[in-house]
C-alpha cells in the first residue's frame, strides 16, 4: 500500500498542506518540553508530549512525520531514559503505524470519536515500552502506565491547539498545486 492513497482521499479544509519546517520545529519543542526539569513526583503520570505531537503530525501530515520519524524520535527517548536501546523506537514506530492505518477512518469521526480511537495507542505505547523493559529483566515501574492515560486525556486539547498552527493558506495551496484560484 502506498502512502499517497489516503492523502488523495482527503478533501477537508484541515487537510491543507502543512509547512514541513513547522512540523520539525514543533517536534523539537516537544522534545525540549519533555526535557524540562519536571518534579520527580510527577514523572509517573507525566504525559509523553513528544508522542502526542508526533502522532498529531502523523495523522495530519504523514509525509512529514511517519514511521521513520517515529523510529528516530523513539531512539532519542531511549537514549534519554538510558535503560534499553530500541524499546521506545519500536513502540513509537508501531504507534505511528497504527495512526497511519486509521488515518482515513479518523476523518469520519468528531473529536470525541477520534480521541476514543487514539486512546488505545496512547495507552499501548508506554505499555509496550515497559513490556520490552520487563522482558529484558529491567523491571520497570508499572505505575508509569498512568502516563498513557494522561496523554489520552490531553490529546483533544493538544490537537485543538495544533489544528490552528502551521497550515499553508488555502490561497497559497491552490497556487502551489496549480489548480484554478477560488
Amino acid at each position: 500500500m502506498s502512502l499517497i492513497k489516503p492523502l488523495l482521499l482527503q478533501g477537508h479544509a484541515l487537510e491543507l498542506p502543512v509547512r514541513p519546517g513547522w512540523v520539525r520545529l514543533s517536534l523539537l519543542l516537544a522534545v525540549l518540553v519533555t526535557w524540562l526539569p519536571w518534579p520527580e513526583a510527577m514523572a509517573w503520570w507525566l504525559p509523553d508530549f513528544l508522542l502526542l505531537t508526533l502522532l498529531y503530525w502523523t495523522w495530519r501530515a504523514p509525509l512529514q512525520a511517519g514511521i521513520g520519524t517515529a523510529f528516530l524520535l523513539g531512539l532519542l527517548t531511549d537514549v534519554e531514559h538510558g535503560a534499553l536501546l530500541g524499546g521506545y523506537a519500536l513502540s513509537y514506530s508501531l504507534a505511528a503505524y497504527a495512526v497511519l492505518r486509521m488515518r482515513v477512518r479518523l476523518g469520519g469521526f468528531d473529536w470525541r470519536g477520534r480521541a476514543a480511537h487514539l486512546a488505545p495507542v496512547f495507552l499501548g505505547t508506554p505499555a509496550l515500552a515497559l513490556l520490552i523493559g520487563e522482558l529484558s529483566d529491567l523491571h520497570p515501574d508499572p505505575w508509569f502506565l498512568a502516563s498513557g492515560l494522561t496523554a489520552a486525556a490531553l490529546w483533544p486539547g493538544l490537537a485543538w491547539i495544533l489544528d490552528g498552527t502551521g497550515r499553508v493558506s488555502s490561497h497559497a495551496a491552490a497556487l502551489r498545486s496549480g489548480a484554478p484560484l477560488p
Binding site: 502512502l3 514511521i67 521513520g68 520519524t69
Partner: protein, 299 residues
C-alpha cells in the same frame, strides 16, 4: 526523514498516484523499523551499546538540558528564599549541634581506626582497598519507569568512577552507574534492578535486597522463613560483592511477609536509613590506588 521522496515538497493533494509507486509501503516500513529496533535491542543486550551512544548524545543534550533547567533553578531559589528563612535558621541550629557531636565522634573514630589498622596488621589480614570520599550535590532527579536515579554535579574530571558506592551521613544511597565529564548518574537503592548484598547487623544473617520501585523502600524478595530476621533489625552491606565496603547501614526492617502458598520463601520490606529520597550532600566512595592518600573530601 525521507518520507516525502519523489513527492516534491509537501503538497500531494493534486498529485496523481504514479503508475509504478516508488514509495516504500507502510507495512514494509513497519517491518524495517521493527527489524532495526530488535537489532538494536539485541546489540544493546549483547554488546552494551547504550553506554557509548549515551555518552556521545549527552555531549549535545546535557548543555541544552542545563540551559532549560536554569529558569526553574532561579525560580526555585527565589521561592525558597521567600519561604524557608525560618526553616533555614532552625536547620542551622540543628546542624551546629550535629557538628559538635560529629566532631567529638570523629576524634574517637580516628583513634578507633588507628587501633583497627594495628589489629589488622597484627593478624596479617590484607587491608581492603582504600577509599577516597568525593563530596557531591544532587543537580537533578530524572524520573522514569526503569530506575530511581540521581544526577550529581561532579564527574570523571573530579575522579568519579562508575561502580563506586554513594553514601550520605546515615547510610548507603546507591551506586554510580554512568559517568560523564562533569556529571555522574547514581542508581539508588530504591531501584528495582539494583541488588545489594546485605546482612543483618544483629545476627549476621546474609540476604539480598533490591529497591521496591515507586515505594521508598528496600525489599528482600526471598529469604529463609526461619532465618531469624525481625522487624526493627538493621541491615548493613555484607561486602560480599566487593562493590560496597562491608558494614554500611542500608535499611531497617519494617515488615516481614510470611511465605505465600506454594512458596518456601518469606520476604521483607525495609526502610532505607539514608536520606535517599531527600536532598543533601552525598559522598562518593572512590577507590584510590594509594590508601595512604586519604585527603578526605574534595569539592
Amino acid at each position: 526523514m525521507g518520507m516525502g521522496l519523489g513527492l516534491g515538497g509537501g503538497s500531494a493533494i493534486a498529485q496523481r498516484e504514479p503508475l509504478f509507486s516508488r514509495v516504500i509501503g507502510l507495512n514494509l516500513r513497519l517491518v524495517l523499523a521493527f527489524a532495526a529496533s530488535l537489532g538494536l535491542l539485541f546489540l544493546d543486550a549483547r554488546q552494551g551499546l547504550m553506554a557509548p551512544v549515551r555518552g556521545a548524545v549527552s555531549q549535545v543534550t546535557a548543555p541544552l538540558q542545563w540551559v532549560l533547567a536554569q529558569p526553574f533553578v532561579g525560580l526555585g531559589d527565589a521561592f525558597a528564599f521567600m519561604t524557608q528563612h525560618r526553616e533555614l535558621l532552625r536547620s542551622q541550629e540543628i546542624l551546629t549541634r550535629q557538628l559538635a557531636t560529629l566532631q567529638a565522634e570523629q576524634l574517637t573514630m580516628a583513634t578507633l581506626m588507628a587501633e583497627n589498622a594495628q589489629l589488622r596488621a597484627l593478624t596479617q589480614l590484607p587491608l581492603p582497598p582504600g577509599r577516597r570520599a568525593l563530596v557531591a550535590e544532587v543537580v537533578a532527579i530524572p524520573g522514569d519507569a526503569f530506575s530511581r536515579r540521581l544526577l550529581l554535579n561532579i564527574g570523571a574530571d573530579a575522579g568519579v568512577q562508575a561502580g563506586s558506592p554513594v553514601i550520605d551521613g546515615h547510610g548507603l544511597v546507591g551506586q554510580v552507574t554512568h559517568v560523564d565529564a562533569a556529571r555522574c548518574e547514581v542508581t539508588t537503592i530504591l531501584s528495582r534492578q539494583l541488588f545489594v548484598p546485605l546482612q543483618s547487623a544483629r545476627n549476621g544473617l546474609r540476604l539480598l535486597g533490591n529497591g521496591a520501585g515507586s515505594d521508598a523502600a528496600v525489599e528482600i524478595p526471598q529469604m529463609d522463613a526461619n532465618g531469624g530476621l525481625e522487624v526493627g533489625d538493621l541491615l548493613v552491606t555484607s561486602g560480599l560483592d566487593g562493590v560496597y565496603p562491608p558494614g554500611l547501614p542500608v535499611a531497617r526492617v519494617r515488615a516481614i511477609q510470611p511465605p505465600r502458598v506454594n512458596s518456601p520463601f518469606a520476604s521483607a520490606m525495609a526502610q532505607p536509613v539514608s536520606g535517599v529520597d531527600r536532598a543533601g550532600p552525598l559522598l562518593i566512595l572512590v577507590p584510590t590506588a594509594h590508601p595512604a592518600a586519604g585527603k578526605g573530601a574534595k569539592s
